[in-house]
């Protein structure tokens, strides 16, 4: 299944998948993951102070005959983090290729699919 993102702003306008850094986070109201028929599979609501984080986590297998790394699956990881009374609080949604969703309040290092992101972009910090 293929999924794309949509950033919905507080005035009802939106930005569809494209340049992720161009999302206007000052007006972000919802972050959606849509399937190919534009049905909402994940809707994440944002409140002041919550910072969007998002990655497509690609799983690639080496194709021996060509040396290409073929993407065999993508996990869409979206969520937010915020500073709540001095503590970094996270909420994460993992949308898997078969459409099922797993939720966590933190990354975990004991499974590759749920490993933390690399360095966050400036807009995400």
């Amino acid at each position: 299944m293929q999924f794309t993102w949509r950033a919905v702003y507080s005035d009802g306008t939106w930005l569809d998948e494209g340049k992720y850094p161009e999302i206007d986070r000052t007006r972000l109201s919802e972050f959606l993951l849509l399937d190919s028929e534009k049905h909402v599979r994940v809707r994440m609501h944002f409140f002041p102070g919550q910072k969007l984080i998002y990655r497509k986590r690609r799983l690639g297998k080496l194709a021996p005959a060509t040396g290409e790394i073929i993407v065999v699956g993508t996990i869409h990881v979206c969520g937010f983090h915020e500073n709540r009374d001095g503590t970094n609080v996270q909420m994460l949604s993992f949308l898997f290729p078969d459409g099922h969703i797993e939720l966590m309040d933190r990354f975990r290092a004991d499974k590759a699919n749920f490993e933390p992101f690399g360095e966050l972009m400036e807009a995400e910090r």
């Binding site: 340049k19 990655r55 690609r58 040396g67 360095e119």
Partner: protein, 189 residues
């Protein structure tokens, strides 16, 4: 745009200046510093000895750029391996390779048809079993030394992942081995 990648191997040449950098198709561990897809110079099985393939300096190279960036490479296997007496090792740190430099490259040495130089002797550092890295305990890497520690353009690469096969002459069985699969996981936006 969805980023695409190949796995490449540097071989030949001299330190910091590899002679060739092709995509690593039908990858083989040989006892020479070639990338030829034939059965010459396999790793021999010699009783009482451990023989090594020549060390292979591989890296992931971008063939179509992402919209924004790729980073956070993880590498893992199914935990199987090539069987009793055969250990596939990786160097636990990643020598520098990027679109502007191969400064971490060390030309593989050894005796053709007999054994390669053991990778810690060649590169220093430490090594571990590649097939000990599974989805429950992935290898964090290869790392990236492009600007910003991200890949965002065609031709950009990860650092080197150094690989080597060791064959124990007392326990390994001869013959062609079943191909194994490596999974590369990375984050894209």
């Amino acid at each position: 745009m969805v980023a695409t990648f190949t796995l490449n191997v540097d071989y030949g040449g001299t330190d910091a200046a590899p002679g060739s950098s092709p995509t690593w198709t039908n990858l083989r561990f040989r006892t020479d510093d070639l990338n030829t897809q034939d059965l010459t110079n396999p790793v021999p099985i010699v009783a009482g000895l451990v023989k090594y393939s020549y060390a292979r300096a591989v890296y992931v190279k971008c063939s179509a750029a992402p919209d924004t960036q790729v980073d956070n490479f993880k590498t893992y296997t199914d935990g199987g391996g090539f069987g009793t007496g055969i250990v596939t090792s990786y160097r636990t740190t990643f020598p520098t390779k990027n679109s502007g430099s191969s400064s971490g490259y060390i030309a593989a040495t050894g005796t053709p048809g007999d054994t390669g130089t053991e990778l810690v002797s060649l590169y220093g550092g430490a090594k571990a079993d590649l097939f000990g890295k599974t989805s429950g305990s992935p290898l964090t890497g290869p790392t990236i030394s492009e600007a910003g520690s991200i890949i965002n353009d065609i031709g950009e690469t990860t650092n080197y992942l150094i690989l080597q096969c060791a064959v124990n002459g007392d326990t390994a069985a001869p013959g062609l081995k079943t191909a194994e699969t490596i999974t590369f996981q990375y984050d894209e936006i």
